[in-house]
Amino acid sequence: MIARLGLRIIALGYLALVVLGPVVLLVVRTFAHGLEPVVAALTSPDAVHALQVTLVLVAMAVPVNTVFGVICAFVLVRYRPPGTRLIAALVDLPFAISPVVLGLALFTLYGRTGWLGPTLAEHGIDVVFALPGMVLATVFVSLPFVVDEVAPVLEEAGLEAEQAAATLGASGWQTLWRITLPAIRWGVTYGVVLTTARALGEFGAVAIVSGNLVGETQTLPLFVEERFTDFDLTGAYAAGLLLGLIAVAVLIVLTRLSRRLDRRDRDGRDREPDRPPAVEVS
């Protein structure tokens, strides 16, 4: 009993020191001078624009990664062409890479002195220091989530229902639309939520490819850093808190989702035969 209590105190104490304490204090500090400076900081044109840019990045990167993620999961799980292993490795690479390294990689490829930069510039397409580069960076860092959530689901969904549909004379599209996609929709949703969270907060990679033009290519995370360096702590805290609140909203969706899924899981479990405990490394 004492051991259990001790362990509880250690675990919760650790989380309080590392996560909860700082977050609570951030909130306190933000409103240290009342609500007014916070509102002022968040309604300044630069902040509003930075939020807009961040939302644009999310709104572009998420659909791109969703479509890619679903198709890629199909390729990995169902088609398995030669090179499947390489594809899987490339998809997971963004997890292992430092965002700064990624930003630099985009720079060496699409910058004015990079491999493709000059050619693209001739056709009037600027990638680095412009929206396309920032979207690319965001897409890269949030690439694996949808694939990772959809692939296992697709695998477990199995082929039986699809085969049954095919036997009953359904066309390929019908099967995809009515059987396969519904089966993976929770995986997709979960992946989308994770992608959104990641895309919202990307800092390192975007910092390098954006040029940080205030009122143009500055995102909200870049705005936070800039305010902090300019000794405008209230501005930095306010924008940071806004980002944090969006993150918490995402988190709530996430928790709700998984709770809902847990419930279905429990319902579904009754129908499943017992299976041996399995380690799933994810």
Binding site: V53, L213, V214, G215, E272
Partner: protein
């Protein structure tokens, strides 16, 4: 391979073995909706002309167009007042701005690398010269009455309140108990002014070139942190690192005006800083950009600069700050001019600063 860097939602996945009811349309609708939002936001943001190149805020356009101002790290506060003042003038009506601030050298390279720019306000002339060589700035950019310069300042020694280490001049900086901050001369323009001020002060004191270089070597051995820009350096200093920050006079004034607990010492021998501004041939808004640069050289604009601690280039402007003239003030011209100095000191491969940086272990070049 690690599946995901996120929670393995084991149970989540298991449930999906049983296909849920057919509700694909919801997913499709969500996707379509987010795509639509993306497009709407883009459309809302984008002015007709340069959506492909840059995000532009709604409300742009009108008559004036949108100027992109790329500047070095310190004059941000001044431009925060200068821009509204310009917008009050006839040529500035309806003009909106995108602004970027950072280390002068890095900003100059960013412009070369394609950062959309209409006006470049940099720390020192060579950073503009680079743009001239690339054809981005007109050859005659410095032909005007003020030779392309918009503000002046001097290099000063910023110390803690009350000057606890009793710093009086350059010689005190190499005392064993003194830790210095100066930005990295390979990225920061301010740092290059600092290096040349320290070097020139030695020459002014009658020392030989070799002795002056030796002083620089000793000086850099006392440097605690080389931040990328002057603004970042001030940030580090204000966080309690170092005893002396070598910096622009205007930066010291601004720091005190912002309530920082600092004093500063103007050394007897120091360098006169001149900061250039130039119109960049972006092919977009050169007329307006030219008007903005002209505005910066008017008395009201110079007054704003003076309020922020810059020494005005235009005569007859005086601000709230006293600008003492150091006894042995010298210019970069006295040291051979920027083009010679840049090659001699700051060439990333062969410059004199490279072995000095290497000796203190900081990579550069």
């Amino acid at each position: 391979m690690p599946r995901t860097l996120l929670p393995p939602r084991l149970r989540l996945r298991r449930l999906l073995r049983v296909p849920p009811p057919l509700r694909t349309r919801a997913v499709a609708a969500a996707l379509a909706a987010s795509t639509a939002v993306a497009l709407a936001l883009l459309a809302g943001c984008g002015s007709s002309a340069d959506t492909a190149n840059a995000l532009t805020v709604g409300g742009s356009g009108a008559t004036g167009g949108r100027l992109s101002l790329v500047a070095y790290s310190t004059p941000k506060d001044a431009y925060a007042e200068l821009i509204p003042a310009f917008q009050q003038t006839a040529p500035g009506r309806g003009v909106t701005f995108a602004q970027s601030y950072g280390a002068s050298g890095a900003q100059s390279r960013a412009i070369l690398a394609g950062l959309p720019t209409d006006v470049a306000a940099l720390s020192l002339a060579p950073d503009v010269t680079k743009l001239v060589s690339a054809g981005l700035v007109a050859q005659d950019w410095n032909a005007g009455a003020y030779h392309g310069m918009v503000t002046r300042s001097v290099v000063v020694l910023v110390v803690r309140k009350g000057n606890p280490k009793h710093i009086t001049g350059w010689d005190d900086l190499v005392r064993p108990d003194v830790k210095i901050l100066t930005p990295n001369p390979l990225s920061s323009g301010g740092a290059r002014w600092n290096v040349m001020a320290a070097y020139g002060a030695q020459i002014k004191a009658g020392r030989t070139q070799a002795e002056a270089l030796d002083y620089l070597k000793q000086l850099f051995a006392h440097v605690a942190v080389q931040d990328p820009s002057a603004a970042a350096s001030l940030q580090t200093f204000s966080r309690g690192v170092g005893d002396v920050l070598i910096s622009y006079e205007n930066e010291a004034i601004a720091a005190r005006d912002h309530g920082q607990e600092v004093d500063w010492v103007v050394p007897d021998a120091t360098i006169l800083i001149e900061n250039p501004v130039a119109v960049v041939n972006s092919g977009r808004h050169e007329q307006v950009a030219k008007a903005f640069v002209d505005f910066l050289l008017t008395k009201p604009a110079q007054q704003i600069f003076a309020d922020h601690g810059y020494r005005p280039v235009v005569e007859g402007v005086s601000g709230p700050h006293a600008f003492p003239t150091p006894a042995k003030l010298f210019t970069i011209g006295d040291l051979g001019g920027w083009s010679a100095v840049t090659k001699q000191f700051f060439d990333p491969k062969t410059g004199l600063i490279v072995p000095i940086e290497k000796a203190v272990g900081v990579s550069g070049g």
